[in-house]
């Protein structure tokens, strides 16, 4: 084994290494070019905006870091941050677990599997406006589906999205219906588990749970990690539910960060302040993502691990 490693190393340093270096950059060129052409410009521009007092229609006026100062004293900034963090912490793990469980369920040899999988993916496809109307009925305290079920079971009912305390938990519950995207990715990930390992494990006498824990789960960690990171990044930027269903209420209980940013940017035309809000969120999400990546080293397993 060690002879192989040194041979590989020698080869890499001489020929393979140089080729990889060039081809690496070359293959990454579309992405890098895309970033430079389409992304970095607007990012820098928005950073500059955040240092100005810019009401759309007027010319921007440079004011340095004053927006950031205002931001810290803006109680709606803190409110929207807490609301969004609450939602993210509640929704992401829930959606991951549900998505994973259902992906496992739908990775069996079942008759009509295509049909079942499509059915479970359907809620993700129903357009947001139809979904919103439906859920407003489901949440209705007097004759909505949820309270009807609770009453039937003799449990106390809730005001759901009409109550300040229950609003975010209600939206978290609603978000679990959107597990479809996570489920599809988990399904794809389950394809990559070497069947021989599972068979070998079962021959060796490992039960269902043991097989899951030592073969399936480790192989799924890359996709779990992906869904976790993208889930956090996307959920921090949740917007639609506030826009379509609650308009940030009741009494700012569902004032999501991006919704607040949007009203500042477009309803009030305060683009400079909105840009400052955007960059604060950027830094927060960046830090959280970095922490996740750092933490991932201890639990994410890649088959390429020892070679790379």
């Amino acid at each position: 084994m060690s002879a192989e490693v040194t041979a590989r190393t020698r080869r890499r340093l001489s020929g393979l290494g140089r080729v990889e270096q060039r081809w690496g950059w070359f293959f990454a060129l579309p992405a890098i070019a895309g970033f430079l052409i389409f992304t970095i410009g607007p990012m820098i521009a928005s950073g500059v905006f955040s240092l100005t007092d810019w009401t759309i229609g007027l010319s921007p006026r440079f004011i340095g870091g004053r927006n950031y100062h205002t931001l810290i004293h803006d109680h709606l900034f803190w409110k929207s941050l807490t609301v969004t963090a609450y939602y993210t912490i509640g929704s992401v793990p829930l959606v991951l677990i549900v998505g994973f469980a259902i992906a496992m369920l739908l990775n069996q040899k079942i008759k009509g599997l295509s049909f079942w999988r499509t059915v479970y993916f359907l809620p993700t496809l129903v357009p947001a406006i139809a979904s919103a109307v439906l859920w407003i009925w489901i949440f209705n305290p007097d004759f909505g589906l949820l309270n009807a079920l609770l009453r039937g079971a003799g449990l106390p009912t809730s005001q759901w999205i009409y109550s300040e305390r229950a609003a975010i938990p209600s939206l978290i519950l609603m978000s679990t219906w959107g597990f479809g995207n996570a489920m599809v990715i988990f399904l794809a990930g389950l394809q990559g588990i070497p069947r021989q390992l599972l068979e070998a494990a079962s021959i060796d006498g490992a039960g269902t749970w043991a097989r899951f824990r030592s073969v399936t789960l480790p192989f799924m960690t890359p996709t779990i990690f992906y869904n976790l990171v993208t889930g956090v990044i996307a959920t921090f930027q949740v917007f639609n539910q506030a826009y379509v269903m609650t308009q940030g209420g009741p009494n700012n209980a569902t004032l999501f960060y991006i919704y607040y940013l949007y009203t500042k940017a477009f309803t009030q035309g305060q683009m400079g302040y909105a840009a400052a809000l955007a960059w604060v969120l950027f830094v927060i999400v960046l830090i959280v993502t970095l922490l996740l990546f750092r933490n991932a080293r201890s639990w994410v397993y890649y088959e390429m691990g020892d070679a790379r």
Partner: protein, 318 residues
């Protein structure tokens, strides 16, 4: 190995040795169907529970869709009454013909499909190539570049909207499909990073021995990418295709900002116009929405075959 840094998120893998041991140690005994163990009563129970969960879950999943369809078949005055009625009375079949003729949906469909075709091809190709670079090629600065790319989805698009729009207007690309199609060929530029990330995760689960063998035989990285890695990655490619398709199909803000001529509108814009400031044509909206999601359902249904059924939870070979 001085400058070699491990890619973010990997760990040293002693258990590769263990799996190799397994493969060499225990052969798979030939089986001829159900083994005696499989006729345990627990196995039947497991099967029943599985089906029960499946069916109950499916019923819950179908509620939003059934809601959509029943609303599409109802007159406006019945759709929003509460408590809701589930059976239309009468059946408003006219909603479908009315909605689809109220606006040139055939044209919108054509426009959307055109954009789809260009965007999906561009996205799959460029994102796969980039992901390959970030996962299976070693080069200096790889992780830093990947990290920088990832930051492009962390900045809310509300504030990059205007500078991006200005850039396209300077390039005289307003009222064309260009702003909607070109970024896809640059690995999605922005949202596309998620695709690169996803494919990277998948590529990292394929053993490097395959590449190595090819390099020894004198293959170029392109050959390794195209003939070895891509064929093994059908599941993740299917996922990227599905998500990209849905993304373009439902994209509202992009077409809204960049398209001003009626004959260039996409399906998403067509749907939005059923809701006005003072009035809303709910029946038409629901009917049109139902028709609009059908192609996605079909696409998803038919791409299923790339997700081969795996091993059952109870261990019988799949």
């Amino acid at each position: 190995m001085s400058q070699e840094t491990l890619p973010i998120g990997t760990q040293q893998r002693p258990s590769v040795t263990r799996s190799k041991d397994r493969r060499s140690r225990g052969r798979v005994a030939p089986t001829s169907g159900l083994r005696p163990r499989d006729r345990r009563p627990g196995r039947m129970l497991g099967r029943i529970v599985l089906w029960a969960v499946l069916i109950i879950g499916a019923a819950a999943m179908l509620i939003p869709f059934l809601w959509l369809v029943r609303s599409a078949l109802m007159n406006d005055d019945q759709i929003l009454i509460a408590p809701p009625q589930w059976w239309p009375n009468p059946f408003a079949w006219g909603n479908f013909s009315g909605a689809l003729t109220a606006q040139p949906f055939a044209l919108y469909f054509l426009n959307t499909i055109t954009i789809e075709f260009v965007v999906i091809t561009g996205t799959v190709l460029t994102c796969a190539v980039s992901a390959f670079s970030f996962s299976r090629l070693r080069w200096r600065g790889r992780n830093v570049v990947f990290g920088i790319l990832l930051t492009s989805v962390m900045l809310p698009y509300a504030v990059t909207l205007i500078p991006t729009f200005i850039m396209w207007s300077e390039l005289q690309a307003l009222n064309t499909f260009i702003p909607l199609m070109v970024p896809a060929w640059f690995a999605g530029a922005g949202g596309g990073v998620f695709n690169i990330f996803l494919m990277r995760q998948f590529f990292l689960t394929i053993p490097f021995e395959l590449d190595e063998a090819a390099y020894i035989d004198g293959a170029s990285p392109w050959r390794v990418f195209w003939t070895i890695i891509m064929p093994l990655s059908k599941p993740v490619i299917v996922v990227v295709v599905i998500f990209t398709f849905i993304g373009v199909w439902n994209d509202f803000l992009g077409p809204l900002l960049y398209l001003s001529s009626d004959n260039k509108f996409t399906l998403a814009l067509g749907l939005a116009s059923f809701q006005g400031q003072y009035t809303a044509q709910w029946g038409y909206l629901m009917a049109a929405s139902t028709v609009v999601i059908l192609p996605i359902i079909l696409l998803f249904f038919f791409l299923q075959r790339y997700f081969v059924e795996g091993v059952t939870l109870t261990g019988v070979k799949g």
